[in-house]
Symmetry: C2
Amino acid sequence: MLTVPTWINGCAIDSSNNQFSSLDRGLLYGDGVFETIAVIKGKPQLLSHHFKRLEKACDRLSISVQLSLLKDELGLFMSTCCQDQKPDKAILKLIVTRGCGGRGYNPSTATEPVRILQWHDFPDYHKTFSLQGVSVIFCKTPLAKNPVLAGIKHLNRLEQVLARGEWNNSAIQEGLMFDTDGHLVEGTMSNVFLVRQGVLLTPELNQCGIEGVMREHIIALAKKLGIACSSATISRAILEKADEVFLTNCVIGIWPVRKINQMTYPLGPVTRLLQKNNEF
Amino acid sequence: MLTVPTWINGCAIDSSNNQFSSLDRGLLYGDGVFETIAVIKGKPQLLSHHFKRLEKACDRLSISVQLSLLKDELGLFMSTCCQDQKPDKAILKLIVTRGCGGRGYNPSTATEPVRILQWHDFPDYHKTFSLQGVSVIFCKTPLAKNPVLAGIKHLNRLEQVLARGEWNNSAIQEGLMFDTDGHLVEGTMSNVFLVRQGVLLTPELNQCGIEGVMREHIIALAKKLGIACSSATISRAILEKADEVFLTNCVIGIWPVRKINQMTYPLGPVTRLLQKNNEF
């Protein structure tokens, strides 16, 4: 049985003490939210930003998790995991579900929210991905538009699963996804930025997509560096004419895009400048 | 801890032997499908239809579950549950997930699919709901359009959860949902039919919504009874002018709709005829 160090509601689980219930609404309906946090030398990166997004997502779904309790548990979990093994890098995954319930969608039937903390290996991405860039494809799976769910990192992620299933070629590092109207939204696991005539552009995420913590950080960093940046509706044609394209998330940092299908892009000055000034 | 009789991959679980993993992709991404089957006097109703829909859903998501194994397990589970307790009515819930995986959306990293069988009490709906009809509201939560996920009963059900959370009034039995273009799709837990000038109409479900097993059964029954029936794009205006409206699912059968917000509808002859001839 596949396992990773895990706490559920503050208690360590193992194969003889697996408290996860098959009546959890996280399983039954994807009724919950999550965060994926990079841990560098024992320190969770951009932690306050992750908690801010988690809080926003729980508010949107009316999941009344005790954030202060979760923060305390996260601190204890971190020290336990870093005591047992002290990796330079690791991934802390945090899941909050609405809790167990009977059958039926009614959220008011749920018990207390369930807090899950998981400790994962840091993915073994090749250094060249951030230094020299990556190759990506266009995914066929569209992202549906629903302002009610847009922006937050909830557990309904079948679109990303299907999109990621579209390629099985290690020469391709990411797939770009478009909404059902054909506008660029994001990568399957990353946000996307493009540079056009010196201006940084990233898709608006008010209809679909996840507002990445690294995306917010890069927007703030650009501002600090005096780079004009705005979110916009971006067509495939605009993307194809971009001077530079790059991807972001909290685990990869910034990956320059060098190839989309057959089109090539340079590793340009704006991407380099942001990479140089991004401490994550 | 909330429990119901449950088998996972053919093994009974209890609190000391809970094999459900918090690494299951059903939890992490809603990466799976389900069926809700009415059991009457020990017999699962419309079972072959449920398996047909499950197979279609697994095909769509490329989840390669062993259906024959699942059928065998279901038979054994049924006899165990009906031996311990012989209720006139019960609910058999069947969930198939893609299985456990590491972190990341890539579906090819998953282990074997996980098969979950749950035995639930039959909901205690008042008899008047089917005899005299129900009151429903319009939900504000829209259904997003994505042909890739439309029709199948997958585990990404946050839209239904949010819609069902819109009311907490026992005088309201269901909420009707519209897609992001304002077209009628379904109820939060049911399909919807309307009668207009003797013709039975039900929303097309090629962009969103779940193709209910009872919906398919009612369409076939109408055909048998010589009632013209078609699926169509249905606006709110068309719904409001309907002569009769009713809801269907495998647990409720047919519920006539008598009231939508402040509008009233009669319990009309087509609804009565279908109810009279529907053995489920």
